[in-house]
């Protein structure tokens, strides 16, 4: 059983939010509660500009730390030892025992930071610092005080209980999901789009996703892979809806009617249109794509201009200036990489031309799209009507 009975949650950016601050703090508390719910009955509460998590007796420390590392809005968090008896003798002993348990060698430089939230406590904060320092120096002969650059910052906070902590675990940063509207992610089975969804969610945005399925050219396993990716994103971004659109007939119609080297661009224009349709339906305020400038033919500046043209909503492209290896690094951190590299084809690659246009001419693209006039509305309507919606928890 872990000696830590609570966590002190630190948040950076939320602190800046003026009068809206409580909204962000409430969202943070809610997201922490969501994240910890499956792990037991935790108490999450605000107290004097701090968020605390109190753990049940039988909680699993490692599991809880992993869950907190995924809650956006947490800049860092500290595992805390709580002491119910705050009289001086009990407190000094508890702090000494803490040092002994955490640093068995007891050989480091340190500084005590004290905070007396309970102003009735008979000893002032500066006195707590110096008296506690003296006690520790007496009990552990190898300790040294260093007030400028301590190796260990030992925090003692007196509230109704006393809180002791010295370790700070980095959180993911960002802002709590739900504090900043909702956006629709174009999710493929690739490496980039899950990372893009993660990054926008990190700014406090709730995420829904749309996936374009092209049976029989893409398989059930390709779809399952996307569902698996959505689940991985939802570990950070919370619950989401996944819209699975059957795109085959639209794709084949474009193939039949339009020049082959423009296929991908025109296809992507229709994907954006469909994504925007569902985005509006779900009250989203933007679209998210995993596009990265110049990565493939459909992601040159000209191509992006061509696909962007059909949307009225802002399109968020968090990876736009990222190199592939940096994207892969994030994908590995958020554990989507292994899933993304499963070798199932997605609908963007099945008919891709050997030499697709890299600098599409908007006029030409519009002209080609006119060749679709006869049947495209009907096909779009069918695609929208037959959408499968999967709730990802």
């Amino acid at each position: 059983m872990s000696m830590f009975k609570a966590f002190l949650i630190k948040y950076a950016e939320i602190g800046l939010k003026g009068n809206n601050r409580y909204l962000f703090e409430n969202a943070l508390c809610d997201r922490i509660k969501d994240a910890l719910k499956p792990l037991g009955t935790f108490r999450v509460f605000k107290e004097q500009g701090r968020v605390f998590v109190e753990c049940p007796d039988d909680y699993d420390y490692e599991e809880t730390v992993e869950a907190l590392k995924r809650v956006f809005g947490i800049s860092s968090f500290c595992p805390v030892v709580t002491v119910a008896d705050t009289d001086w003798e009990s407190l000094t002993k508890a702090v000494g025992d803490y040092v002994e348990a955490m640093y068995p060698d007891a050989d480091f430089t340190f500084k005590v930071f004290a905070k007396r939230a309970d102003k009735n406590y008979p000893i002032s904060s500066p006195d707590i610092c110096s008296m506690m320092g003296a006690y520790l120096l007496g009990r552990f002969p190898n300790l040294k005080v260093d007030v400028h650059n301590p190796e260990v910052s030992l925090n003692v906070e007196i509230r109704t209980k006393a809180y002791i902590y010295s370790v700070e675990i980095p959180g993911p940063g960002g802002m709590p999901v739900g504090s900043n509207g909702k956006a629709m992610l174009l999710l493929s089975g690739g490496i980039d789009s899950p990372v893009a969804g993660y990054m926008i969610a990190k700014r406090g945005v709730s995420v829904d996703a749309v996936y374009f399925h092209a049976p029989p050219y893409t398989s059930e396993r390709a779809k399952q892979k996307v569902i698996d990716l959505a689940k991985k994103i939802s570990r950070y971004a919370g619950r989401m809806k996944l819209f699975v659109v059957n795109f085959t007939d639209i794709q084949l119609y474009i193939y039949d009617q339009c020049p082959h080297d423009e296929l991908t661009i025109i296809m992507r224009r229709y994907m954006m249109r469909i994504a925007e349709h569902f985005a509006k339906q779900e009250n989203c305020l933007g679209l998210i794509t995993g596009e990265s400038l110049g990565q493939v033919a459909s992601q040159t500046m000209q191509s992006l201009a061509a696909t962007n043209e059909v949307c009225t909503m802002p399109v968020y492209r968090p990876l736009i200036a990222f190199d592939k290896k940096d994207i892969v690094e994030i994908a590995e951190t958020i554990d989507t990489y292994e899933t993304s590299i499963q070798p199932y084809e997605d609908c963007c690659t099945i008919f891709v031309a050997k030499h697709p246009v890299t600098k599409p001419n908007l006029k030409k693209i519009r002209h080609s799209e006119r060749k679709l006039e006869e049947k495209i509305d009907e096909l779009l309507e069918t695609a929208l009507k037959t959408v499968e919606i999967i709730e990802i928890e």
Binding site: P215, P216, Y217, T218, S219, E220, L252, Y255, H260, P343, E345, I350, F351, V352, A353, K354
Partner: protein, 395 residues
């Protein structure tokens, strides 16, 4: 209509197999090693199953070891004998078209100082026997040749190979992976000169997770799984009695009305081949040279009764597979076992299928449960889909 044509991947279990398994699971669930009556009852199922399998092979029940399936049987056969006969030499000969459960253990032995020769095959998937015989030397310890290839259904001349290799060196141990052949052929290891024979339950309407290895009484084997000394120490671990009982039942059933079943499958195979070869840009793989274009039964009978491999020019096999799936027809692209790997199949490459067709090849595999009506329906769908799919390809 649902038409399951992936019987080389696995088969549906029969009602009789299901019934006996449920009985063992719910009523006779004792551990065969237990001293009390429950244990004795459970052991009875094992003895019966071993007897049935032994009878079907015309061998002794004590020569049957139950394993977790064909893969383990092959692993035990190869690694188990290699370890037991290390002093005889460290040379093993096999073919280029073996299942990964033979190929991989041999690569493992290769890493550990064995020399492995892989004998090539001709366009019909039959090994160059002379090359096999010429490869034998004083060090040769094991020869392992599969009976029926799982991807194209080619059949090796097992009896002749056994005779010839032992003429050259009489203490060679001959292993045969018969996972795809058992239940389709009458296999009598003693008469045929086979020392080790691997079989699997779920290819013959038995359960998954069970198989067996026939080990000739004269062959010593080292175990590859260690523990409580079950099955005479050769395969420790509490026996999977429900599956063993199911396997016994499946073996009993498959060899009932055997000739009739096999003939029925050959007729369906001939029908599939005739219909598919009539389509534009379709080639049937692994047929004997004599077959030419009239597909006489006597030539088709030189191949296994249940497997047809066909290449469709200009159609990706995965797409055809999913399009057929959409119409309720289940086939496999190449071999289901290797579909996890994006690289092309070793067997198809070994028989020299042109590169552009490697990714355009599907396998249709039937069982004696398959009906002519099902085949007609499946052919109908293929005939309809192939031209449509051909229109849409990467350009």
């Amino acid at each position: 209509m649902e038409v399951y044509l992936d019987n080389s991947a696995t088969t549906k279990i029969t009602d009789r197999v299901r019934d006996i398994m449920i009985k063992v699971l719910y009523e006779d669930y004792g551990n065969p090693s237990s001293m009390h009556r429950m244990g004795v009852n459970a052991e009875k199922y094992m003895k019966e199953a071993a007897q049935i399998i032994a009878d079907s092979l015309k061998v002794e029940p004590k020569e049957i070891i139950f394993t977790s399936g064909g893969t383990e049987a092959n692993n035990l056969a190869l690694i188990g004998t290699a370890m037991a006969y290390q002093r005889r030499g460290k040379h093993i000969i096999t073919t280029r078209i073996e299942h990964p459960s033979v190929h991989q253990p041999l690569l493992y032995l290769e890493e550990n100082g064995y020399k492995i020769d892989f004998i090539p095959v001709d366009r019909t998937g039959k090994i160059f026997k002379d090359k096999l015989y010429n490869a034998i030397n004083d060090e040769t310890q094991i020869v392992s040749v599969m009976f029926v290839n799982n991807e194209i259904g080619s059949v090796q001349d097992i009896e002749e190979i056994a005779r010839e290799i032992k003429k050259i060196k009489n203490d060679i141990i001959f292993h045969v992976d018969a996972v795809q052949a058992f239940g389709k052929y009458r296999i009598h290891p003693r008469r045929m000169g086979i020392d080790l024979l691997s079989i699997s339950g779920h290819k013959i309407h038995g359960p998954k997770g069970i198989g067996a290895l026939y080990v000739n009484d004269n062959i010593r084997l080292k175990p590859i799984i260690f523990g409580g000394g079950h099955q005479r120490g050769l395969r420790s671990g509490t026996e999977n009695v429900p599956a063993i009982a199911g396997l016994g039942q499946a073996v009993k059933d498959i060899y009932e009305n055997f000739e009739q079943k096999v003939n029925k499958m050959y007729k369906l195979k001939q029908l599939i081949i005739k219909e598919l070869s009539g389509l534009d840009g379709v080639t049937i793989n692994g047929l004997p040279e004599e077959c030419e274009s009239n597909y006489e039964m006597e030539h088709i009978k030189m191949t296994a009764p249940h497997i047809v491999s066909a290449s469709f020019e200009g159609v990706r096999s995965e797409v055809l597979l999913h399009a057929l799936e959409d119409r309720g027809v289940y086939v496999s692209s190449g071999s289901a076992c290797s579909s996890h790997h994006p690289q092309p199949s070793a067997t198809l490459s070994a028989i020299g299928i042109p590169k552009i067709l490697l990714d355009s090849t599907i396998r249709i595999s039937i069982s004696e449960m398959t009906t002519e009506e099902e085949i007609q329906y499946a052919i109908e769908q293929i005939r309809d889909l192939v031209p449509k799919l051909r229109r849409y390809t990467r350009r």
